[in-house]
């Protein structure tokens, strides 16, 4: 993985600066296939140290949207 994530604070940064925090799901449906576009949490470990909400296509690693976690719908 070497895609870029657009941190609302720091701008586009290498994914290596972030820690993946899992999908944003109330409860993962058992046995469900992964969706094409996931809502995810990412933590800007080597940057501003804040949690982001990210909408990402897990097949292409195209990042559709980033925002602060907990602020507005992801």
């Amino acid at each position: 993985m070497s895609f870029l994530l657009n941190c609302p604070n720091c701008g586009p940064r290498d994914v290596a600066e972030f820690r993946y925090g899992g999908q944003i799901l109330p409860q993962p449906p058992a046995g469900a296939n992964l969706p094409e576009v996931q809502h995810e949490r990412w933590y800007h470990r080597y940057g501003c140290r804040r949690w982001l909400a990210v909408r990402r296509d897990v097949r292409t690693n195209e990042v559709h949207h980033t925002s602060w976690l907990g602020e507005g719908a992801p």
Binding site: S2, F3, L4, D14, R49, L69, G70
Partner: protein, 950 residues
Amino acid sequence: MTAPEVYPLLPGYLTDPSKPLTFGFEGRTIRAVEGQSVAAALYAAGVRVFSRSFKYHRPRGLFCVSGDCPNCLMQVDGRPNVRTCIEPARQGMNVRGQNAWPSLGFDLLRVFDRLSYFLPVGFYYKRFHKPRWAWPLFERVVRHIAGLGRIDIQARPEGHAEVEHLHADVCVIGAGPAGLAAGEAAAAAGADVLLLEREARCGGHLLYEGKADTNAELSAGMRVLLETTAFGLYEGNLVGAFQKGRLLKVRAGQVIVCTGARQRPLLFRNNDLPGIFLGRGILRLARLHGVSPGRRAMVVTNHNEGHRLARQLRALGIDVAAVADSRPEVRGGEGGFPVLAGHVAVRARGWSRLRAVEIARVSDTGVIETASRRVFACDLLCLAPRLVPANELLYQGGMRFTYEGGRWVPSQAVPGLLAAGAAAGTFELEAQIREGRLRGREAAARCGLRVEELGGDDAEVRPTPALTNPQSAIRNLQSKGKCFVCLCEDVTTKDLGQAVAEGFDHIETLKRYATVGMGPCQGKMCGQTSTEVCASLTGREVSAVGTTTSRPPVVPVELAVLAAERQHQPVRRTPLHHWHAAHGARWMDAGQWKRPESYGSPEEEVRAVRTRVGLIDVSTLGKIEVFGPDAAELLERIYLGEWANLAVGRARYGLMCTEEGIVFDDGIGARLGPEHFYLTATTGNAEAVFQWLELWRTTWKLDATVINRTPALAALNVAGPRARDVMRQLTTLDLSSAAFPYPAVREAEVAGVPCRLLRVGFVGEVGYEIHGPSAYGLHLWEALMAAGAEFGLRPFGVEAQRILRLEKGHVIIGQDTDALSNPFGAGFGRMIRFMKPRFHGRETLLRFKELPARTRLVGFHIPAGAPQPRDNAWARRLEGCQVVEQGRPVGRVTSARFSPTLEKYIGLAWVPEARAVAGGEFRIRCDGADLAARVHPPPFYDPQGERLKG
């Protein structure tokens, strides 16, 4: 051996004849000049056999002279598999051959060449299996013979490999005519351009084809990195490249790949003899390194390239015996050399170097007319087939190619990726330059820069015309002797035929079974040929067969370079680090931290804590502050226990769990105010716990603030029966158990420094953790050391702390438990407050509760059979040993030490439920022998906690 011949060096060459040097090669001293490659200098000194082939140990000589093929791999200063044709010679270096015994010139292992009947393709899947008892013997022999080179485990890479991160609007890979044009066009449009070139000079094929002045001034706005090899194109336009001892990570908006093209071997018997070169290899040897390749050359081609090459050879003073061109209609004669139309090479003659070439006419249907065979004596055979684009990086970037008119051309556009020149299938110089310029402008436009429209001829690249006879280079598939497709792995046309006959007819399975393209060159030499052979054998079109997947690295990269980033390991030091160092601390790593393991004798340190008083630096603990109206709610939901009911001024042990019910950290939480908590986390998890709290505070939108104060605060733990006496010297706080009980928190001045005091007891004695500003850490420590002198205070390290905690039976999360541990089996059940409506892991833990715990974590001691006198190194070896029942593993030991307090070996172990009763016996397998252990419910020491609370 031929006498060394060195050309007069002209501008544009890589060498500097004014700087001579010497190096050693197998007991000889070799002369070279600066800039010259090791292999070129060896060639000039008469060396012709450079390596022995992988399987048959056939002699191999210089072939591509561009770092692509495996023929020149040698050991250089202990480094195996160095591509000596591109490795610059350095004064005093030590070069040796490899994969040969006893020597490169005379290799007894060439016997395998004669045994090839017994070593068919995929032989390692078929041989050595029977009889089974013989395998250990085979294995020893095979291990000795297999592989290339020998790793010198004593060798250390020179200097430190470094990593550099670079950014550019446009990154151009390759500074040939197309790359230079692309870079300059993009830079002219205002783009920030980075140009990577693997050679020491720009120019690409112009350098050795003598076509242009390569000293042209480069435009401003373009950064050029020479001797920089791109090895991979990764997601997000990340270009991986290396220089000597340096890894480059280039993040570019647009990447333009201009990596040119390569020649490849033609197929005929003995096509691997030393003296057979790729045409461009000869030119590189002569023009880049100033070494005369030979005297009399034969050129074999299927393209105009061969005729151009013949003229170049003549210009270099090499006699051209003839040009054999497989195209029947071609004419020649004006170059001053005979041209044999419709002829191909059928056999090379010679034992360890080329003596002559057999040429024969080929019919229109591709049949070789054996009667027309002619023999040409020569010492050079130059292969000049059609060029194959060096498009590996483009494939990695997602570009795909189709085979049209005998050429591979890009078939789809990829955002962020462009190609120009031969890599894109454009072979005419004019068109290459025009294409480069266009792609450079396109890249700039894609970066959002304004680029003026071009009109007329300049607006498009004139495509390289399709070949009139896109005739396959494949013939002689049934020829006698060996005809190599893959030089790296010694794969012959017969091997491919056999593999296809066995059913491996898909190009990817053919590659895996026959190992064609799996050697050091990774298919750069044999990819196109194996595709064509596969097409010919299976009666399919080349385009239907396709190519194998290109993966990074395109070129070999030293692991030391790839590991450059890992060589820099940040080390964290506590505020007391230098005191510890000055007082004989033996260090241990705790995550990124350095911690004193002990100051000499852990047992003496244990005794001091148990009988007098000890002092330990616990500054590495995670220290987290939580405040706000929802602070208590946040902790209630994160930890397994209760917090809302914790009184101000009191502290409590807390455990936290993931959603999966895995306990991941523990620590002390103290309430400083109704809306203010202070938490500690374990050393290794400080950051993770902080992130965890932040994640859920954010997700649940709780009105609380979480601050990680770990590096801002020093923490010292003074513990032992005289701890209170020591503290009384430094603080006016009422330390009586009535005023400051266990476990509680107070804020007070200690030695004049405002601190937080936690009365806790990891080691099981009266103890105070003093948390104060890092800047005053040393002051606090020295004040405590001075105040404690009269009470026999002694500093102690982590090893003593571990023994002390084990005597108390305290569990270390991550050592005594892991992600598979049932929290109830670990004894955490009584700390879980299921009456809380929600907390992390509640649902999973409820399910765990219903499950029977198969194993339990218990304390044990070893009644007999352990070494006497005490041996803590032995005890530590028990950690990780299996608990066995009737020879089967049923559990494991997680902690073990000799307790100097109890004069016993004690520990913690996971044992089957049935054994987990006081006095229950179980067996531990250690060093191959079984040892009896007896369950002893912890704590081993002070079970009522009277000393702790006293």
